[in-house]
């Protein structure tokens, strides 16, 4: 799991913890658990929401760590400005990743789905939560193997990314056709920029 601080946000939003899980086996039950948690009543509901208080992201649609961190930054910024389009900073990260403003589409595409086999799990919190606690809570919720983020680009489904971001006919992609690694770099550059400027691309 990787952790870093966001330098200029209020304390309760200043720490970011993220981990990459592959061979995820129970994504369908995880998704059901999340849905149930969001509507559960009383203290039990609170505890359940606490237990799953993470952002569960479809790893194959993430093109780089920069892509992920850009979405996290813009989501936390929206939270500090009271401009969330979704309920929590964690759901906002998923919304930020989707090229369109449609929230349910964002959840369906970038959130955990029944067929997810690789997930990026993110927790934004204050310094009061130690990395050990966060990591323990993450492992308790996700059944899969944690791997370093260097593996991320092998998991990326570049065709899906290009489809969602409508990069098919773009000249930048045509220019790089011969060099697949360069093409990935170009796609990543466009995707990162699109996520960063989503708030003004309307």
């Amino acid at each position: 799991m990787e952790s870093y601080q966001l330098l200029h946000f209020p304390p309760h939003l200043s720490c970011v913890h993220a981990a990459l899980y592959t061979n995820v086996s129970d994504s369908d039950s995880l998704r059901k658990r999340l849905v149930a948690a969001s509507t559960a009543e009383g203290p039990a509901g609170e505890r359940e929401r606490d237990a799953v208080n993470f952002s569960f992201i479809e790893a194959r649609l993430i093109t780089s760590v920069k892509h992920l961190r850009t979405a996290v930054y813009q989501a936390v910024l929206a939270e500090t400005q009271g401009a969330l389009r979704t309920k929590t900073v964690h759901s906002e990260i998923i919304w930020a990743l989707n090229p369109t403003n449609n929230i349910s589409e964002a959840m369906r595409r970038y959130g955990v789905s029944d067929t997810s086999t690789a997930l990026v799990v993110v927790r934004v919190c204050g310094p009061d939560l130690s990395t050990e606690t966060v990591e323990r809570d993450m492992d308790a919720v996700v059944k899969g193997t944690k791997v370093p983020f260097t593996e991320l680009q092998q998991l990326t489904d570049w065709a899906a990314v290009k489809k969602y971001h409508k990069l098919g006919g773009e000249a930048a992609i045509r220019d790089a056709k011969d060099d697949i690694e360069h093409e990935h770099a170009i796609v990543d550059g466009i995707v990162v920029s699109s996520v960063a400027m989503k708030s003004v691309s309307g």
Partner: protein, 257 residues
């Protein structure tokens, strides 16, 4: 109650200040592997009505970001967008490690109008460091502007200060002979247009900037135009003709009393 972005700016290093925006070097996170970015802050203008100032600033941050994305999609070398806080007028873009073309050409180093020959040696040395002959640099400029115009993006302020070469030490070049790449920057005045007129004016503004910043640079600009012509293909004829008109008209508008 200050905002996150204003705190970020307070902690950043001021690089330069123009009429509308201050430019900083900044870091968004504590992670050393996260590279630094360039922050452009369109600060509040006291003379403008707050509502007008707010909506104008938001519109301009949005405009610049969109122009950059349009260029990225069209394959034009421009800095990527890293962060946007339109309400505070802050745009974060990729930090380009390199040098502005202005400083790499004779006459560009000195700020003073009649920068004499003394700036020749420094400029030449700098260019060697980027391992690129002047004519090849002119080719890159012409090509990059052509790609931008083919995407119907008008820069609006083309000068040699708004172009940079990436430093070879931090750039993996795919070009057979060149170890650097030309990047267009500062799309603050850019707009979308497919009109031949606007593209011709973009070139004319660059031509004037070239001649006033870099003495006897006519041949340099000529090779920029040749590369531009090649890359524009069939669109060049109309633009080339219109550029002639624009040169003749000089200061464009006759003034009704």
């Amino acid at each position: 109650m200050t905002s996150a972005s204003l705190d970020l700016i307070l902690a950043s290093t001021l690089i330069s200040q123009g009429a509308e925006a201050k430019v900083y070097k900044a870091k968004l996170s504590s992670d050393p592997s996260d590279s630094e970015i360039l922050l452009k802050h369109r600060f509040r203008k006291g003379y403008r009505h707050p509502t007008l100032d707010g909506s104008l600033t938001r519109a301009r941050v949005a405009g610049e970001a969109r122009a950059l994305l349009k260029c990225l999609r069209a394959g034009v070398n421009v800095p990527g967008v890293r962060m946007v806080d339109a309400a505070e007028g802050v745009l974060g873009i990729e930090w380009i490690h390199g040098q502005s073309v202005r400083k790499l050409l004779p006459g560009g180093a000195g700020e003073d109008e009649d920068a004499s020959g003394d700036s020749e040696p420094e400029a030449a040395d700098a260019l060697r460091e980027y391992d690129i002959p002047v004519d090849a640099l002119m080719q890159l400029i012409g090509q990059e502007i052509a790609k931008m115009h083919l995407a119907d993006v008008i820069h609006g302020d083309l000068t040699t200060s708004n172009m940079m070469l990436r430093h070879p030490s931090s750039f993996k070049s795919r070009h057979p002979t060149l170890s650097t790449e030309l990047v267009l920057i500062d799309f603050g005045l850019s707009f979308h247009s497919s009109l031949v007129e606007d593209k011709a004016v973009d070139l004319y503004v660059l031509e004037r900037a070239f001649s006033s910043t870099h003495p006897d640079s006519e041949p340099l600009f000529a090779s920029v135009l040749r590369a531009y012509e090649q890359r524009m293909g069939k669109d060049w004829a109309a633009i080339g003709r219109r550029l002639e008109d624009v040169r003749m008209r000089g200061r464009k508008r006759s003034m009704v009393g």
